[in-house]
């Protein structure tokens, strides 16, 4: 395992990361990924307080590590430093709350209509802003009931099925909190598509991926989730069952963050990471033949595709585009590789909201200029955020694929 801080000597100070950083482009409060990362690291002592706070403005999108040609773990280092900074200060109650979407979902999902009604009231949002610091301008997801695991209870399993008598490929679906508590219909469509492609889908035991906790500096709580997930998923990976997720951030945690940021190591996490696939990565690499044999129904729309930063972190490109290109009548406009700004819970915080909005502004402008009917993006928080500020409907690419396959 490579510690991010040991990669700083590979930094040539070429500033390629600075040129691509979405946050440094809109605020001078952030010194830039190189300046707060490989450069500032030389002035940090493991037992002395951090000399500069600017790293708190890092949103954790991960672009800097993506674009670095020399293998410096810029984002990983900065996220670790942010966590250290959060520990030095007191982590506010707000951050403990918004980083637990699973807990919130479990409490609110049974009373979803009431919870959604309350969160839709501007007075409630005003109180939340004043008392907690959750920006009243930031969109929040709606709760849904019943959760996916209740709807698809027959697919929930504790351990891998005995595959000796099964000729079908078994796929373990990592739905994450979002498809379980907030948009279970998305999870149902994902299952329907995988089944149409000939897979048997099961829902393995799982908890929140822990990414929101990690990005809020709550590493211990995040590690607890990570360890639970790895222990639960390893038996599936060991049996050669692939773990497929529809949230690009959850799957990035399983693949990368557990090891590179939280420091998990060993054969089990390696096996789980290796078996984890983004939904479109999975269907384009394992089931392209079946996809090619499908006859799609036209989807008459002009769409704008936005690749989430956390999808780019997978290092697989944007595989959904290869599928969307096959759907007749669908016109896809492409996004310049830009961040929308929300980056998980960053844009929800009242002190960060304006910067997060400014990050996304050029994207919103570009979307308005391109005069599209709808927006496609693989990440739930990107969809929520872009929908709020462009007023256009947003979809996961698999919802568009499902339309093309006549599943909706």
């Amino acid at each position: 395992m490579i510690q991010p801080r040991t990669t700083i000597d590979m930094c040539l100070k070429c500033n390629i990361c600075t040129a691509s950083c979405p946050v440094v482009a809109v605020t001078d409060l952030f010194l830039g990924p190189k300046a707060v990362g490989p450069q500032a690291q030389r002035f940090r002592h493991p037992r002395l307080p951090l000399p500069v706070d600017s790293v708190e403005w890092c949103s954790g999108c991960g672009t800097c590590s993506q674009v670095c040609p020399h293998g410096v773990a810029v984002a990983e280092l900065n996220i670790q430093t942010k966590a250290r900074l959060a520990e030095e200060h007191r982590i506010p109650l707000r951050d403990h709350l918004i980083s637990r979407p699973e807990l919130l979902g479990r409490i609110a999902s049974p009373v979803a209509p009431i919870a959604n009604y309350l969160l839709g009231m501007s007075l409630v949002r005003w109180i939340m802003e004043k008392s907690l610091g959750i920006s009243r301008k930031a969109p929040l997801p709606n709760f849904a009931r019943p959760p996916l695991r209740v709807r698809q209870a027959d697919k929930c399993v504790d351990r891998p099925p005995n595959s000796r008598f099964n000729s079908q490929e078994v796929v373990a679906y990592f739905h994450g909190c979002y498809s379980n508590y907030y948009e279970p219909e998305l999870g149902e469509l994902a299952i329907a598509i995988l089944e149409r492609l000939g897979c048997q889908v099961i829902l393995p035991p799982q908890v929140c991926c822990g990414l929101p906790l990690q990005s809020n500096g709550l590493f211990e709580a995040s590690r607890a989730y990570a360890n639970t997930n790895v222990a639960a998923l390893f038996p599936f990976a060991e049996q050669g069952i692939n773990i497929v997720g529809t949230s690009t951030s959850c799957t990035l945690s399983l693949k990368h963050d557990y090891r590179a940021i939280l420091g998990l190591h060993g054969d089990q996490i390696d096996a789980v990471a290796n078996a984890t696939y983004d939904f479109f990565e999975f269907i384009t690499t394992k089931h392209m033949d079946e996809l090619e044999n499908l006859s799609f129904t036209p989807v008459n729309a002009r769409a704008y595709y936005h690749p989430p930063c956390h999808l780019r972190g997978h290092g697989i490109g944007a595989p959904a585009l290869r599928v969307l290109q096959r759907i007749p009548a669908l016109q896809v406009c492409l996004s310049e590789s830009m961040c929308c700004g929300i980056t998980g819970t960053y844009g929800m915080k009242s002190e960060r909201h304006q910067v997060a909005y400014n990050v996304g502004e050029s994207l919103f402008d570009e979307i308005r200029e391109s005069q599209v009917d709808l927006i496609i993006s693989d990440s739930e928080t990107c969809r929520l955020w872009i929908e709020e500020y462009t007023g256009l409907p947003t979809y996961h690419p698999l919802e568009i694929l499902a339309r093309g396959m006549r599943l909706t």
Binding site: A19, L29, Q66, P69, G71, K255, R312, L334
Partner: protein, 409 residues
């Protein structure tokens, strides 16, 4: 349809991908990070040692990458690059038969063949006297040093003018991109022009660091020039280098629009096709965030660059390796033979690289083609000292063109 996997996202890889997708290939471009174009001056150096590149190029030895690719490839490549840049409203000026003579950020001189209009207007063959701008928040530009050096060369530098930049970052040093975003804003430009005009009386020509606009650079540049009533020219800066980034984004954008799968952040390890008795490659394993994933392809093009860009790995034990397929590299064994005694002498390491044939296919130590569907282009190829020759971008384009032409034939 041929499935082509290109490894490397510098000028060579991006340009090869643009050409290949234009010619109907299904293209995947994989790179560990952004390529060298982002830190380059954004001009096209073809042969910087003489005034007339096209004449000098006919006199090169047979193993020079230009000789291998053929001058016809260079001409065709430049024509296609011109199509791409014009379509993006970013026209390049200059010619292959007469170099532009340009000042650098510290007042040295370089020769390049093609440059965006904003830089080409700084051609010192034009003897109109000029002033240099000092933009206060910008630390990586040295107008006083540049003026002193240019005067020593005999150029008429009238003055160094301090120009204020309202709204520039105050809490930290300004990056070139911060300033470029300011220039992008038409309202801000109006304000700047009001403040600048009185300071520019008597000045006909003004050199600025290359920060005039990012997203719509060409329009922005022409607009600013018109409102100031002064001929402007840009001087490329230290990274982040706007001219390089502009050209990079134009190429990247084109690839996205044409359906190229762009994979960023994954290291590639080449795969030999086991069923071909070692005569073909089958693609590459990309080390993605999750783990190694095989990307199969009919043809693989290496555009990974030389020692500065990751295509060649200089090991502590004195050996030099090619980074994707571990192909045989032409180099001097022993680290003492890699560098000269003085940093300003010709460096032996810059000649290291792969030997290729006229089809851009890497050759083994016996001089035979190693794999029938493997190609290489750009800085990975041996036989040129690109820094001394001033031939970097020309070699990238010519060899990429030739490789794609043969690979898709």
């Amino acid at each position: 349809m041929t499935e082509l996997l290109i490894i490397g996202a510098g000028l060579t890889g991006l340009f090869a991908a643009a050409l290949a997708v234009q010619r109907g290939a299904v293209v995947t471009l994989a790179a560990q990070g952004r390529g060298g174009l982002e830190i380059s001056h954004g001009c096209i150096d073809i042969w910087g040692k003489t005034k007339n590149p096209s004449r000098s190029l006919t006199r090169l030895h047979n193993n020079h990458p230009y000789s291998r690719a053929g001058l016809e490839s260079l001409r065709s490549a430049l024509q296609f690059l011109d199509e791409i840049t014009c379509a993006a409203n970013y026209p390049l000026s200059g010619s292959i038969s007469r170099n532009l003579h340009l000042p650098t950020a510290n007042g040295a001189l370089i020769q390049t063949a093609l440059a965006p209009l904003s830089i080409a207007q700084g051609n010192l063959a034009d003897v109109t006297p000029f002033a240099l701008a000092a933009l206060e928040p910008m630390r990586d530009f040295y107008p006083h040093l540049a003026a002193a050096n240019l005067r020593q060369f005999g150029f008429d530098v009238q003055a160094v003018v301090d120009l204020p930049l309202p709204g520039a970052p105050e809490k930290r040093d300004a990056y070139t991109l911060d300033l470029a975003y300011l220039f992008d804003d038409a309202g801000w430009r109006e304000e700047a022009v009001r403040e600048w005009k009185p300071r520019l009386t008597g000045i006909k020509r003004l050199g600025l660091p290359a920060v005039i606009g990012f997203r719509h650079h060409h329009e922005t540049f022409l607009d600013l020039q018109e409102s100031l009533g002064v001929t402007l020219f840009e001087i490329p800066t230290l990274p982040p280098s706007l001219p390089g980034i502009r050209l990079e984004r134009i190429l990247r954008r084109r690839l996205q629009e044409k359906g190229v799968l762009l994979i960023e952040g994954s290291r590639a390890v080449g795969q030999v096709d086991g069923r071909s008795a070692g005569t073909r490659v089958s693609g590459a394993v990309l080390h993605t965030a999750g783990g190694p994933r095989l990307y199969a392809a009919d043809v693989v093009l290496l555009a990974t660059g030389g020692v500065l860009h990751g295509g060649l790995i200089h090991r502590q034990d004195g050996h030099v390796q090619e980074s994707v397929f571990d192909l045989p590299v032409h180099y001097e064994t022993g680290r003492v033979h890699w560098t000269s005694h003085s940093p300003i002498q010709i460096q032996p390491f810059s000649h290291f690289g792969l030997h290729v044939d006229d089809c851009m296919q890497p050759l083994g130590t016996d001089g035979c083609v190693l794999f029938e569907n493997l190609f290489a282009a750009g800085g990975l190829i041996a036989g040129a000292d690109r820094a001394i020759e001033g031939s970097r971008q020309g070699i990238d384009l010519a060899t990429a063109f030739r490789a794609v032409e043969v690979a898709l034939a």
